[in-house]
């Protein structure tokens, strides 16, 4: 298996070098670019598995660049931003970025995010699934904005790990997912922020998804894993 190629767009030379080195040391091929023109050249030079892009590039704003890149290609995009504001995050994700990393970040978090995005099921990114809505049992998940809405229409806040866990459960709606598989999925996503066990995350999700008088549609299959016990619709 060939190593995935990552196109790194970052205007700060030192940070570009450091990021490239961190990725290379973790088994990725890196094609660095300082700004938009170099990025387009690098894209023409050969196939790229993922674009890691600083939002605040000189010349073009990263947002515009993301929009035009998304118009031409489905390549997964991870935004890097020094702004770290919630608005930026949502705008980036809505424009079709697959994830968002705030500066400053550590090697472990960076590699975990990159791996997680590369590992996402192809259909999720290729079918426009990122922009899509998933609904089950009255609940709605907006994958682009990473938001969950209750049957009553209220925003329900989940941590990143909880959201990913719920996404994994909906991906296999009505089928049991082995605990080990869930652990693997949540590990890649969480990076170094938490080592909470899947069981704790499941119990928190259950509490947050419990409705008035009825339980969350997540069932434990003893000795095997967990299952989302509700029909899942995608739109």
């Amino acid at each position: 298996m060939t190593a995935p190629t990552i196109l790194l767009v970052e205007d700060d030379p030192a940070l570009r070098t450091l990021t490239a080195r961190a990725l290379q040391e973790n088994g990725f091929l890196v094609r660095p670019a300082a700004a938009a023109p170099e990025m387009w050249q690098a894209l023409e030079a050969g196939p790229v598995d993922l674009v890691l892009m600083d939002v605040m590039l000189p010349g073009t704003s990263g947002i515009d660049l993301c929009r035009s890149l998304r118009a031409k290609s489905d390549v997964p995009i991870i935004f890097v931003s020094a702004k770290g504001s919630e608005t930026d995050r949502v705008v980036g994700l809505e424009l079709g970025a697959d994830d968002y990393i705030a500066k400053p970040f550590g090697t472990r978090e960076l590699v975990a995010r990159v791996r997680a995005v590369l590992r996402r099921p192809a259909m999720e990114s290729r079918d426009g699934g990122k922009q899509g809505l998933i609904s089950f049992d009255g609940w709605t998940m907006n994958l682009g904005r990473r938001e969950l809405t209750s049957p009553g229409g209220a925003a329900v806040e989940l941590t990143g790990a909880e959201f990913d866990l719920l996404t994994a459960l909906t991906d296999h709606g009505g089928r049991v997912i082995a605990r080990e598989r869930l652990i693997e999925l949540s590990r890649t996503r969480l990076g170094d922020s938490s080592d909470r066990s899947v069981d704790v995350l499941i119990s928190r999700l259950r509490r947050k998804l419990s409705g008035a008088g009825h339980d969350a549609p997540i069932v434990t299959v003893r000795g095997v894993g967990y299952m989302l016990n509700a029909p899942v619709e995608r739109s």
């Binding site: 020094a82 504001s85 608005t87 925003a155 947050k208």
Partner: protein, 446 residues
Amino acid sequence: MRRPVSRLVRPSVGVIGQVVAVLLIALLAEFATSTFLYERASSFSVQEDEARRLAEHLSVSRQLLSLSPPAERHRAAASLTTDRYAVRWYTVRPPIPPVAPSLNEMRRQILNWEPGLRGTDLRLRLASPGRRQTVAGGLKLADGSWLNFRTLHPVTGLNLFGERALLALIPAAALMLIGGVLVRRQLQPLRRLATSADRVGKGGSDGSGGDHVPVEGPGEVRRVIGAFNRMQDRIHRLLDDRTQALAAVGHDFRTPLARLRLRADRVDDRATRDAIRGDVAEMEAMVASLLAYLGGNEEPERMIRTDVAVTAATLIDDAQDGGADADYAGPFHLEAQVRPVALKRALGNLVANATRYGSRVTLHLERDGDWLVFAVEDDGPGIAEADLARAVEPFVRLDAARGRDAAGFGLGLSIVQRTVDAEGGTLRLSNRPAGGLRAEVRLPYR
């Protein structure tokens, strides 16, 4: 050098001009009242006997003077002067006072009683109207000379009290009314100016500068308003510049921090590596709090129906994941209209403070009528009563009281206070009887 005054001051009547106008209008009102009063005087009637007595005296005086040789007439007139009437003789008609109401009705009464006085061109005037009701007048003798007279006592029945009062009151009332309206109109721009001045610096709706006060009113006021508007522009420019500069510094800090963070990962010595990571995390927290505090001019977040109970529980989950002994005490679900990011940041700051100073943290949530009540309690040292008010001020760190490990700029509580103020809520810090601090946030339940 800028000479902006001429640009802003359209030709206008100054305050002095307006005061003159007010006085002029009041004088006109007085004049109109007087004229009206004088017109009415012609229809005053006096008591019959008063008219009769005057008629008889005039009749007798006329005959006596007519019979006297002209050389004697001055003396004769003097002898006709009683303690009631003064009589004088003139060869020509004495000048009539410019404004003196004529007493047509009284004249009719006199002529009715003494028809002999008809054809003598009898004239009656109210002397010094409005003050003493004395009557003056004259009549022509056969040879064209004039007999003049004046009553020395007030004429009874000529009750001018009401008119006198009117004469005094109407101009005064008019003066007050017109003056009041005009002054009010004059002060209107000043009032707007005051309202606007109160708003300066409280964050414009779009951050592009506050409302300009319309330049109107008297010239002097216009100049003040013009100067105020320009000052307001300068203040907003200063605030914007400062905010943008600091925000830019904040953003630019993060790139070197990111480099440092990645470099730290390459340090072999574990203790050093962890220490550098800790430093980077602390600097990042400071930059984030500074940006959150300065970000007040950003477009406000929209209100979204949110399950605030889950938001609160998630904060506590995060604190537990960070190793804190934290608990959430409240309902599983509670939906309300809030600005979720701002709310999360505010509550997060309170929880972070609590975990920093205490070992056990509880986040309570309840709905109290029209209020959402969040309370973060810790078992730390609390805050000295004297410092409670100061604790929410920006850049204040009560390190002496709360240990020196405080990270950040001391903006945490200021950010909470600002968020709460924006929603019309309250933040209250208090020391718990059992020890530790209680930070209570009340937000309107919507």
